[in-house]
């Protein structure tokens, strides 16, 4: 049974149907990558899982339970963490305060905190700094750290590499590999190389629907398919 399954999800913003009949299964374990063009509906998919749209049609099942009518906070308490595209950092709060808010009862599990420090040493260094003063990469680390400070079954991460320097992206990838040992990650990514290096399974969304799903290894090997679905390959223009 898959960890998360979405059935026939429809979401409209005003007149514009962003998702129509999106159906997706995310198996447990590893990194599942959602690919697709800008505006294809990837972010909307993550937000729908999180219950951040008013009236989506369709169902979201998590560990066999329908969560589509639950309040966002209850979905979070079911064990799903969300790292949005803008990272959702509370800039006026310190790193420590950001982290405390992400715990269930205001107390850190020492082992998990140690793991966070190990994965992202910069956070320990700036523990008492206000979050707005962090660099973009450090903010992204904080956003991910918040998602793993409590045990979760699924982490939704939206374009974590956006606007980051290559070395930081590399470090982020290492951290994701580590995290995905114990927690399933559903990753939205436009940086194909990054996605390729992490993903076990993948799906391509276009026009609010899943147009391809399969293993990352197969997809990475099939440049024709990549070109058709993502128009990423630029070689033909030459």
């Amino acid at each position: 049974m898959s960890l998360l399954s979405i059935r026939n999800m429809d979401v409209s913003i005003g007149q514009y149907a962003v998702l129509h009949g999106l159906t997706l299964d995310v198996p447990e374990g590893g990194v599942f990558v959602l690919l697709g063009r800008n505006g294809a509906g990837k972010t909307t998919t993550l937000r729908s899982i999180m219950g951040l749209w008013d009236r989506p049609a369709g169902s979201v099942t998590f560990r066999g339970e329908d969560i589509s009518s639950l309040h966002t906070s209850d979905i979070a308490r079911k064990g799903i963490a969300f790292v949005p595209e803008n990272m959702g950092i509370f800039g006026g709060l310190t790193v420590a305060e950001n982290m405390v808010l992400a715990t269930a009862n205001g107390k850190f599990d020492p082992a998990r905190l140690k793991r966070v420090y190990a994965l992202f040493p910069a956070l320990e260094q700036f523990w008492n700094k206000q979050a707005w003063s962090l660099s973009g990469g450090q903010k992204q680390m904080l956003a991910v750290a918040r998602a793993i400070i409590e045990p979760r079954d699924l982490i939704l991460i939206d374009e974590p590499t956006k606007g980051l320097a290559p070395t930081i992206i590399h470090g982020m990838g290492e951290a994701f590999k580590d995290i995905s040992q114990s927690t399933t990650i559903l990753l939205v990514e436009q940086n194909f190389a990054f996605a390729k290096s992490l993903g076990r399974d993948m799906a391509v969304i276009d026009d609010g629907q899943v147009v391809h799903t399969g293993s990352m290894a197969d997809f990475a090997a099939d440049t024709a398919l990549q070109d058709r679905l993502l128009s990423l390959s630029m070689e033909e223009g030459a």
């Binding site: 007149q15 800008n38 707005w132 956006k162 606007g163 194909f192 990423l232 390959s233 630029m234 070689e235």
Partner: protein
């Protein structure tokens, strides 16, 4: 080549500690369609915002035909001929299609300041608006509120607004974003028409490579806020660095 119609010098903007666009210097020429590409978060829309006036740069200048626009508000730039269409549909939702277009026409002609003449008596205004309605094939929907249009037609209306402003500089930010493939050609045809006028400067942010191939005279590539490539389409698209950036391999290179 002719004098540049639009140029940015060392255009830079910082948000907090983050430099979103870093010292971009670039000239754009009349009759040329430049496509701006780059991965998400590269600073393309931010660069656009500084040219059209939605954002003020931290450093650097924007000039149009030698006129310094850098500190002008968006409305003044629009009156100086810098026209911009937006990535997300950005219309006047409860006004009719015709009213939407008329707003752009009267902004351009200065009729917006007329406060005592009924619209119905300004035949020239109506005729012009009618013309752009026809040009964008929206005539049969003239009386519908913009919000009631299907998404594809809203995008067309977006382009119609821009054309009705009769700018010298046309800026399109992903004009086909969120459009299904069967509707996209309508909008692209409109852009092609503007291009074939050969006197207008067109800037286009676009992800879809088929679109880039069909329209571009020139491509510039932004990555992490910096201009990393500039040239004719074939040359840019085949260059290794661009391929790496676009495919996300840059991380492995450095």
């Amino acid at each position: 080549m002719t004098h540049p119609s639009l140029s940015t010098r060392d255009l830079t903007i910082r948000f907090g500690g983050h430099t979103a666009v870093n010292a971009v210097t670039c000239d754009f020429h009349p009759g040329e369609l430049t496509v701006i590409v780059g991965p998400n978060g590269a600073g393309k829309t931010t660069y656009f915002n500084m040219i059209s006036g939605q954002l003020m740069p931290s450093e650097g200048t924007v000039e149009k035909d030698g006129l310094d626009l850098t500190r002008m508000p968006a409305s003044t730039r629009a009156r100086h001929g810098v026209g911009r269409a937006f990535q997300l549909t950005n219309l006047f939702p409860h006004l009719s299609v015709l009213e939407n277009i008329r707003l752009a026409v009267q902004a351009q002609s200065g009729d917006g300041r007329r406060f005592f003449t009924p619209v119905t008596r300004l035949t020239e205004l109506a005729a012009k608006a009618e013309r752009y309605l026809e040009a964008t094939r929206l005539s049969d929907r003239a009386d519908m509120p913009a919000a009631a249009l299907p998404h594809g037609d809203q995008r067309k209306l977006e382009v119609a607004l821009l054309m009705a402003m009769e700018p010298d500089i046309y800026m399109f930010d992903e004009p086909t974003a969120g459009m299904s493939l069967d509707h996209a050609p309508d909008v692209l045809d409109l852009i092609a028409e503007i291009k074939h006028d050969h006197t207008k400067t067109v800037l286009l942010v676009e992800h879809k490579m088929d679109v880039v191939r069909a329209l571009a005279d020139r491509i510039i590539v932004l990555h992490n806020g910096e201009l990393i490539a500039d040239g004719d389409p074939g040359e840019v698209m085949s260059s290794q660095i661009v391929k790496d950036v676009y495919l996300g391999n840059a991380g492995e290179l450095t």
